[in-house]
C-alpha cells in the first residue's frame, strides 16, 4: 500500500476547488438549536397545502410489501399519464429524481470538456453548479430589470455553447418571458444550441401571455422543458420531476439518464397528481391572498420587495440576510437567504398559509424594531 495515498490527488482540478454542500439539518434539530416550538418552512417554495388529495390517498394506500419490488425503471405509467394530459407521446417524457437530476442528464448528454453553458447570474444555482462540477464553463449574464436578458445571453454564445438555461418564471425574482419573447429568442438561437426552459413554477402562473413551453417544442426541436412535482404538487419529499422535448431530443438525453432512480411511491403519487386541477386552483388562491397580504405588510414595514409570478417573493432588508435568517428562526420562521443567489441582504419568502404569513410579518416587525436598539448589525 502506498503510504502517501491521498484521494485529493486523484480529483480533477475543477473538483478540487469545490466544497461539499452541507444540507440543512432536519427541522426538529433546527428547532432545538434555535429554541422554537413550531416552525413555518418558508424557505423552499413548498406548497403549504401539501400534495393534492388524490395523491395523498395514493400515498395512504401504498402497499408496504411493494417496497420490496423495483419500480418502473423509466416511470412508465407516469409518462403515459403526462402524455395524455399534454397530448404528447410517452416517449417525449423523461422522469428524474427531482428536476436537479434532469439538469444533470441534459448537461451530461450534450456537453464535453471545452464546452460551455449560458445562463443568468441571479437564478436557480443548480445549472451553474452542475456545469462547474462537470468541468464546464458556466457563462453567466447579468439580469436586466430582474429578468433574463436575451441580448446578453446571445452575446455570450459561441460555437462551444451547448445549452442555454432559462428559468421561466425566474427564481427568485418571479419575472418571466412572454410567448413572443421566448419565440424570438428561440428563432435567434436558430438551433445552434439546446434551449432549456425550466418551468418549475409554471403551474402558479396565471398571466395570459405566459408561454406554454410544451406547445412550442414541435416548432423548436432544440427546446427542452423541465417541470417538477415538488412545488405546485407538494411532492418535494419524494423527489420527482421530468423533462420533455421532441422525441428525438428526449432520445438523445435518455442515453445519459440513470434508470430506476425514481422510487415507486413517488411515481404513483405523481400519477395521481397529474389531473389534480382543483388542487392547482386552491393553491393559486392561497398564493394570491398571501401575496396581497404580504405586499401590504411589507409596504407598512418600509421593506422594498420584488414580487412576480410563482409562490414566492423577495424582500430587501436593511441588514444581512443571514442575520435575518437566524433571528427569524428564533421566531419559528425559516426563510431562504439570498446572498447565495447573488442578492445580498435579501430574503426569499414562500407564500404559504395566512397563519404563516402573519407570523412572518410579526417576526419581521419585531426584528426591525430590535434593529434600531440592540442588534449588532452595522
Amino acid at each position: 500500500m502506498n503510504p502517501f495515498f491521498s484521494p485529493g490527488r486523484l480529483l480533477p482540478r475543477y473538483i478540487q476547488t469545490f466544497e461539499a454542500y452541507v444540507p440543512s439539518k432536519p427541522d426538529p434539530e433546527l428547532m432545538k438549536r434555535y429554541g422554537c416550538t413550531r416552525l413555518y418552512r418558508l424557505n423552499n417554495n413548498e406548497n403549504a397545502l401539501g400534495p393534492p388529495p388524490e395523491a395523498q390517498e395514493t400515498l395512504r394506500q401504498f402497499p408496504p410489501e411493494k417496497a420490496a419490488v423495483y419500480p418502473s425503471g423509466d416511470g412508465f405509467y407516469l409518462r403515459h399519464a403526462l402524455a395524455r394530459r399534454f397530448n404528447k407521446e410517452p416517449e417525449q417524457f423523461l422522469i428524474g429524481n427531482g428536476a436537479n437530476e434532469v439538469i444533470s442528464f441534459v448537461i451530461k448528454a450534450f456537453c464535453e470538456q471545452g464546452d460551455n453553458i449560458v445562463t443568468a447570474d441571479k437564478t436557480f444555482a443548480v445549472y451553474e453548479w452542475v456545469a462547474r462540477f462537470s468541468g464546464l464553463e458556466a457563462r453567466l449574464t447579468p439580469l436586466k430589470d430582474f429578468g433574463f436578458d436575451e441580448e446578453a445571453m446571445l452575446g455570450r454564445m459561441d460555437d462551444r455553447t451547448k445549452i442555454l438555461f432559462l428559468c421561466n418564471p425566474n427564481n427568485p425574482t418571479g419575472t418571466y418571458w412572454d410567448q413572443a419573447r421566448l419565440c424570438r429568442f428561440l428563432d435567434r438561437v436558430d438551433g445552434r444550441a439546446v434551449v432549456v426552459v425550466d418551468e418549475a413554477y409554471a403551474e402558479f402562473v396565471e398571466a395570459q401571455d405566459y408561454p406554454d413551453g410544451l406547445s412550442l417544442m414541435e416548432t423548436y426541436p432544440n427546446l427542452v422543458v423541465f417541470r417538477t412535482f415538488s412545488k405546485m404538487y407538494g411532492l418535494a419529499g419524494l423527489r420527482i420531476g421530468y423533462l420533455t422535448g421532441s422525441t428525438e431530443m428526449v432520445d438523445a438525453v435518455r442515453r445519459t439518464c440513470i434508470v430506476y432512480s425514481v422510487n415507486r411511491v413517488a411515481q404513483d403519487a405523481a400519477v395521481a397528481a397529474v389531473p389534480a386541477d382543483g388542487h392547482v386552483l386552491r393553491t393559486r388562491q392561497m398564493v394570491k391572498e398571501g401575496k396581497v397580504y404580504l405586499h401590504r405588510q411589507l409596504q407598512a414595514l418600509g421593506l422594498p420587495f420584488v414580487s412576480g409570478e410563482g409562490n414566492f417573493l423577495m424582500v430587501r432588508l436593511p441588514f444581512s440576510d443571514t442575520l435575518a435568517y437566524r433571528k427569524l428562526m428564533t421566531h419559528g420562521v425559516m426563510v431562504r437567504t439570498m446572498t447565495g443567489f447573488r442578492f445580498p441582504n435579501c430574503i426569499r419568502i414562500t407564500i404559504g398559509s395566512m397563519e404563516a404569513m402573519e407570523c412572518l410579518t410579526a417576526a419581521l416587525g419585531s426584528i426591525l424594531g430590535m434593529d434600531a436598539d440592540e442588534h449588532t448589525s452595522r
Partner: protein
C-alpha cells in the same frame, strides 16, 4: 493567473541522499524565482529537516518533498511518518540544546524554523506535513508614485489588472490615511503577485477616463471563510454608494464558492451600513505610538445550520454570552482533564508584523508545558517589541480548547468569537497587559 508549479521528490531518509534533497530544493527555488539568498535559506532549512529525519525521527523511512511555486513564495513540504518527530523545536522560543544527539538535532529544526518566513505543521492520518515557506523579496511602496486622487461619480465596478492593483496599493498608502492595514499592503509588487496567483481577488471602481475611485480586496476561499480588506475609497467626495457596490461585487463573486462567511478585520475607509455584524474588537499599537481599537466584522454567506464547539469550562460563560448576542445556535461541549496522559510538549506558531508591533500565536500542538511555553512566548515577543499579542483558538478542535487555562493564567483575555474563522468558530484572545507602559 500565474501558473502554479509543483515538483515532487520521493526518497528515503538516508544521509547519503542529503545532496539529492538539498539539490532538489535549491534548484527548484531558483527556478521558481527566489533570489540566491532566499533559495539558500530554504536549502539550509531543508538540510536541517532532512538530517533530523535521517538520524532521529524516521531513519531509512520513505518521505516526499514537494516544492510549490505560487508566484510570491516557494513552499517546501515534507511528508513523512509523524512518530518520533519533535515539533517543539518549531516553537519560536525553543533554545539550542547540546545535551545529547537528539537534542542537538532538534537544534537543527530550530535553525530551520528561523530560516524561513513561516511554517505550517499538519497531520494527515499517520503522516506529518511540514511546510516551510520562503517569500520573494519586494520593494516597499512609494506613495509619491500614486496618481492624483479625484472624486469619481460615474464608474463601473470590475476586476482590476496587475498594474491597477499596484497603483491602487500606492493610492491606499497615500490617500486613505489608515491607522491600521495588512502587512503586505506595503508591497505593491507582492500584492500584484498574490493577485496574479489567484490567491487574492479585487473589485475596482473606475470611471470612463480611467480614474480609480476605490478598491476592495478579498482572499481566495480556503477553509470556511473569505477575508476582505477595505473598501478603500480614494477621495472623500466620490459617490457615496461606491463602498456598497464594491462589497456587492465581492459577495456576488464568492456567493457560490462554498465559503460560509466573509470576514473584515481591515475596514479601510469604512464599511457601508447593513453588510456586516460586528463581533468585537482588538487593540493595536500604531506606528505613531498610540493605541487604536479595530473592530472585526463578519457576515455569513448562507444559513447557519448550527454546530457543536469544544470549550474549556472556564471559557463557557464568555462563549454563551457571545453566541446569545449573535443569535448563533451552538452546542457547547466541554473538554475535561481527568488524569489521562497528555503530550509533554506544546507547539505554537507565531505570525509577526514587526513594524506594526503585533503578533498572533496559533496552536500547533498542546502539551503539559502549555503555560510555560505561552509565558516564554509572551516574554520573547515583548522583548522583540511586540505590543499587541493575540492568540487564535479554533473551537472545532478539543485539544485547542485545552490551552484555555494557560491563556487565562498568562494574562490573555477572550475578545470575540469569529464564527467559522478558520474551520470552526475561532476565539480571539488578546494579552491583556498590552497597554502597560
Amino acid at each position: 493567473m500565474t501558473p502554479q508549479m509543483t515538483v515532487d521528490l520521493t526518497l528515503a531518509a538516508y544521509d547519503a541522499l542529503l545532496p539529492v534533497a538539498t539539490g532538489f530544493v535549491e534548484k527548484s527555488a531558483l527556478a521558481f524565482g527566489l533570489e540566491q539568498k532566499e533559495a539558500l535559506a530554504l536549502t539550509l532549512a531543508t538540510e536541517e529537516v532532512f538530517l533530523y529525519l535521517c538520524r532521529i525521527s524516521a531513519p531509512g523511512k520513505g518521505l516526499e518533498i514537494h516544492c510549490r511555486f505560487t508566484g510570491y513564495c516557494v513552499e517546501t513540504e515534507f511528508v513523512f511518518e509523524a512518530a518520533g518527530f519533535q515539533m517543539k523545536a518549531f516553537n519560536l522560543t525553543a533554545t539550542p540544546s547540546f545535551e545529547d544527539e537528539a537534542a542537538t538535532r532538534e537544534t537543527g529544526l530550530l535553525i530551520a524554523s528561523r530560516l524561513v518566513d513561516r511554517f505550517q505543521l499538519g497531520i494527515t492520518g499517520p503522516h506529518l506535513r511540514l511546510t516551510l515557506v520562503k517569500d520573494k523579496v519586494y520593494p516597499e511602496a512609494d506613495p509619491e508614485g500614486a496618481p492624483l486622487s479625484e472624486p469619481v461619480s460615474h464608474y463601473v465596478v470590475r476586476r482590476p489588472d496587475g498594474e491597477e492593483v499596484k497603483t491602487s496599493i500606492r493610492m491606499v498608502s497615500r490617500y486613505c490615511r489608515l491607522r491600521f492595514s495588512p502587512m503586505s499592503a506595503r508591497f505593491p509588487g507582492k500584492v500584484a503577485d498574490i493577485f496574479a496567483a489567484g490567491h487574492l481577488d479585487a473589485a475596482l471602481a473606475v470611471d470612463a477616463a480611467g480614474h480609480m475611485g476605490g478598491i476592495l480586496f478579498w482572499t481566495q476561499f480556503r477553509g470556511q471563510t473569505v477575508d476582505c480588506f477595505g473598501p478603500y475609497i480614494f477621495h472623500p467626495d466620490s459617490a457615496p454608494e461606491m463602498a456598497a457596490l464594491l462589497l456587492d461585487r465581492c459577495l456576488e463573486e464568492i456567493a457560490r464558492s462554498g465559503a460560509v462567511g466573509l470576514v473584515n478585520r481591515y475596514p479601510g475607509t469604512g464599511l457601508p451600513p447593513g453588510y456586516f455584524e460586528v463581533v468585537g474588537s482588538l487593540d493595536f499599537f500604531t506606528e505613531d505610538g498610540n493605541w487604536v481599537q479595530v473592530e472585526a466584522s463578519y457576515r455569513q454567506l448562507g444559513e447557519d445550520k448550527g454546530a457543536a464547539v469544544w470549550a474549556h469550562p472556564e471559557l463557557v460563560p464568555f462563549l454563551s454570552a457571545q453566541y446569545n448576542r449573535l443569535t448563533l445556535p451552538r452546542e457547547i461541549r466541554y473538554v475535561t482533564s481527568e488524569g489521562e496522559q497528555r503530550n509533554a510538549f506544546s507547539v505554537l506558531s507565531a505570525e509577526m508584523d514587526r513594524p506594526r508591533h503585533w503578533a498572533v500565536l496559533r496552536p500547533v500542538a498542546h502539551g503539559e508545558d502549555a503555560a510555560t511555553v505561552l509565558a516564554d512566548h509572551v516574554r520573547l515577543l515583548e522583548k522583540e517589541g511586540v505590543r499587541a499579542l493575540f492568540f487564535e483558538m479554533d473551537l472545532r478542535f478539543p485539544w485547542e480548547a485545552h490551552f484555555t487555562p494557560a491563556l487565562l493564567t498568562n494574562g490573555f483575555e477572550p475578545r470575540f468569537v469569529l464564527p467559522c474563522g478558520t474551520r470552526g468558530d475561532v476565539v480571539m484572545f488578546q494579552y491583556r497587559t498590552h497597554r502597560k507602559a
